[in-house]
């Protein structure tokens, strides 16, 4: 049972204030609180955006929420992805400002084309939003993932449509280390979703698989292996 005190604590400090054990035990309540927090707390009137206009922020939040939806567990919205992207566009992703500014009207045009009379992406129905995204996800149909180059993943954003850049930024804002000062992954909800325990120090056993490992012993025969290798 989530108490009023817990709810207030969450609203003011996020999940981190409540501790991992508490969070695990109260997950459904946390989700409900997060959704509630969104409805009452998101976009306060005095919200100061670093790059977006309030209207743009609303659109970006709706788009990010289609990429990682809030479907019973926290999504991009609860992770504060729009705040992460707003900060990103005046820091590491400053070169993408134009792409966002010019790309948003293009997405709205696409919406109008598919659904004449619609006003904005954020005001569209979930079905309409998904239809728009499906129509602009050019790479989706031929999705063959390439390994991030030794982790040095740097999408050539200049040559990519807004959707591709937004997708990367949404994932980044959802899964960034919550301790990094980037405004993303609020309360660690992104890491909680994927099962990445909070913290930066772990001890074995790491899972049930290595818990009962009896220790390393030499292989009985080397000759067979050599022979096998030669036959390949």
């Amino acid at each position: 049972m989530i108490t009023e005190l817990d709810r207030r604590k969450f609203l003011t400090h996020g999940i981190a204030a409540l501790g991992a054990t508490w969070t695990a035990a109260h997950w459904p309540a946390v989700v409900a609180a997060a959704e509630h927090a969104h409805h009452i707390a998101l976009f306060p009137e005095d919200q100061k955006w670093e790059f977006f206009t309030p209207a743009e922020a609303k659109e970006i939040e709706a788009l990010a929420s289609c990429i990682i939806p809030s479907d019973g567990t926290p999504g991009a919205r609860e992770a504060g992805v729009v705040y992460f992207i707003d900060r990103a566009l005046v820091t590491f992703a400053i070169d993408d400002q134009k792409k966002y500014r010019e790309g948003l009207p293009e997405i709205r045009e696409q919406l109008h084309e598919l659904f004449p009379g619609s006003t904005s992406f954020s005001a569209a129905t979930p079905e309409q939003q998904e239809a728009v995204l499906a129509s602009i996800d050019e790479a989706g149909a031929k999705n063959v993932p390439h390994r991030p180059r030794g982790n040095f993943n740097r999408p050539n954003s200049a040559a990519q449509p807004l959707f591709e850049v937004l997708r990367v930024h949404t994932i980044a804002g959802f899964l960034i280390d919550p301790e990094a000062d980037r405004k993303g992954n609020r309360g660690g909800v992104g890491w909680a979703l994927i099962g990445r325990e909070p913290g930066h120090s772990f001890q074995p056993p790491f899972s049930a698989v290595d818990r009962d490992y009896p220790g390393w012993h030499p292989a009985p025969s080397v000759t067979a292996a050599r022979k096998d290798a030669d036959q390949k």
Binding site: C66, I67, I68, P69, D71, T73, F92, A93, L133, D137, A139, G140, N143, V144, P145, H146, R147, P148, R149, G150, N151, F152, N153, R154, R167, V168, I171, A172, L175, I176, D177, E179, A180, D181, R182, W191, L193, I194, G195, R196, E197, H200, S201, F202, P204, F206, S207, A208, V209, D210, W216, P218, A219, V222, A225, R226, D228, A229, Q231, K232
Partner: protein, 554 residues
């Protein structure tokens, strides 16, 4: 602990100026300074400390906190010398005190005997300049041992039936097995292969004032916040500083080696942080700037006496570049393995180290490891199986399910040296200091690509044997980007076909030495840093012997 470094004047000729503070430069600095020589290390990047490292993927991977920056230092790429190179990021290397050793994965395989004499064994390979080393495994063995004990490597001696002889066991037991290591080991044994605990340059026990690994899971690309990863920064630089004879000078970007009329090196010219130019005088100069920047620096130091670049009478400066062949297959498992916890690799195998070219139809060899080196954002962007929706609830569900159930089998292998594969200077593109940018020319030898596919096929067999629920191999493309920067100033006895002699002395300039990835003659089977470090310990001995005999004579 605060360490007061000496401050040398640029006008005073120190015994050695070392360009670069990474895997090789850090060891040379420590060895030379603790043996009484005065040393200045010029590092182009900043002096970061453990407290500066974090798990902020944006800071490390997008903002290049630890590495060369593509905006400041653009690169160009072309496949062949006939092509016009286009701007494209072509390499990553460490750009901070400690160099690339700050962010490596820390796989520390020794090269085997075959790596030093493969040309003699297999003969000429068409399209390749493959040649033997002028030194043998036996010559380097004491220095491999020195790396293990002084820099810090965890492992289990005698665990691999394919290991070369060693004079001493590892100083520390292997790190704790990971779940992917357990699965890899069981599957490999089923196939009759010989998995064994991976030797890693990460401390499994506290040692020399450094902490043991805390299993944070951010090794590749990240600096270690507790000093458990055996970087130069954690292991060697503090010893060099404590000698009282070594000054580490960060933010010092060397762009020319000064030469006198006799053709002797007199020092290194560099930009400081404010782009002021200085000449640090020295009796001898050592370049450990990595396999891209060392040849670039030689080419930038061309002069009337050395019109084709310094120490380039062979024409081999920058050429014969090898990246190592790689192929990555991925498995998703039913059970949670939580491989995001802990260092990257706990089990490897070397059954395919030396393939029979007659049987497989190509030259090469390699090893396999089990790893999970993707961090959360990288995984979210590119770690899900082909065909997985890229957004929406099914994308989210896959993220939630797979993160704790995914790991990779990484095949590492040989690259053949090809003369055209090179780092050179671009005629048009300049860096932020107005210097010609690095230009990469690279096209994999056909055998390297065949090897990559062959290793991927073994990885897929292994994933089958391990009952992976889903498995795939990332596309194997021709390489246009490298992190292992090898062979570009190769070692040899013959001045016509090599740049340095076995003492790491350039054939052309007697008091100029090169020691880093550029010195390698063959690529090994991946994991070159162990050998770069062993070479640096050996080079230190050779250089000190020459100095003591008065044979540097600036």
């Amino acid at each position: 602990m605060k360490i007061d470094q000496p401050k040398y004047k640029t006008s005073d000729a120190v015994d050695f100026v070392i360009v670069g503070s990474g895997a090789a430069g850090g060891i040379l600095a420590k060895e030379l300074s603790t043996n009484g020589f005065s040393v200045v290390v010029l590092e182009q990047g900043p002096y970061l400390h453990e407290k500066d490292f974090s798990h902020d993927e944006i800071k490390v991977l997008q903002e290049d906190q630890l590495t060369n920056h593509p905006k400041l230092q653009p690169n160009t790429f072309r496949k062949t010398p006939q092509d016009k190179a286009k701007p494209q990021r072509a390499l990553v290397y460490g750009r901070a005190v400690g160099g690339t050793s700050n962010h490596f994965t820390a796989n520390f395989w020794r090269f085997h005997e075959i790596d030093f004499k493969e040309r003699s064994k297999i003969g000429q390979v068409a399209g390749s300049t493959l040649t033997d080393w002028p030194i043998s495994y036996a010559d380097l063995e004491p220095y491999y041992t020195k790396v293990e004990w002084e820099v810090g490597v965890s492992g289990l001696a005698g665990a691999s039936p394919f290991d070369p002889p060693r004079s001493k066991p590892y100083p520390m037991p292997p790190l704790p097995v990971k779940s992917n290591g357990v699965i890899f080991e069981r599957a490999a044994r089923k196939l009759g292969w010989n998995p064994f605990p991976a030797p890693m340059a990460i401390l499994s026990q506290p040692r020399a004032g450094r902490s043991a690994c805390i299993n944070c899971g951010f090794c590749l690309a990240f600096g270690c916040e507790v000093g458990a990863k055996s970087s130069s920064l954690a292991s060697m630089i503090p010893l060099a500083e404590r000698s009282g004879k070594c000054e580490i000078r960060p933010n010092s970007y060397v762009h020319k080696i000064e030469i006198d009329q006799r053709g002797r090196a007199t020092g290194a010219v560099y930009f400081d942080e404010k782009k002021n130019v200085h000449l640090q005088r020295a009796k001898a100069v050592i370049l450990s700037a990595n396999g891209a920047e060392t040849p670039r620096l030689l080419l930038l130091s061309a002069s009337g006496k050395f019109p084709d670049g310094l120490a380039n009478s062979s024409g081999y400066v920058g050429k014969n570049l090898m990246f190592n062949t790689g192929a990555v297959s991925v498995g998703v498992f039913e059970e949670q393995t939580n491989d995001y916890k802990g260092y990257a690799v706990s089990r490897i195998l070397h059954d395919f180290y030396e393939l029979d070219a007659q049987k497989v139809g190509f030259y090469g060899g390699g090893g396999l490891d089990a790893r999970f080196d993707l961090t959360p954002i990288g995984f979210g962007i590119g770690g899900l199986p082909p065909g997985t929706p890229r957004w929406g609830k099914d994308f989210k569900a896959a993220l939630a399910h797979n993160w704790t159930r995914t790991f990779e089998i990484f095949g590492h292998g040989t690259s053949l040296p090809v003369e055209n594969n090179s780092f050179s200077v671009d005629p048009d593109v300049k860096d932020a200091w107005g210097l010609p940018a690095l230009r990469l020319t690279y096209k994999d030898h056909a055998d390297d690509l065949k090897l990559a596919h062959w290793l991927a096929a073994r990885s897929m067999e292994l994933l089958d044997a391990a009952n992976a629920k889903q498995k795939w191999t990332f596309p194997i493309d021709e390489q246009q980007f490298g992190v292992h920067l090898l062979g570009t100033c190769r070692m040899g006895e013959d001045p016509k076909s090599s740049v340095i002699n076995p003492d790491h002395q350039t054939h052309d300039v007697k008091n100029l030495f090169l020691c880093d990835g550029s010195s390698l003659v063959t690529s090994g089977r991946g994991q070159p840093t162990m050998t770069i470090m062993a070479l640096a310990f050996r080079a230190s001995d050779r250089i000190m012997a020459l100095a003591k005999r008065g044979e540097l004579g600036a």
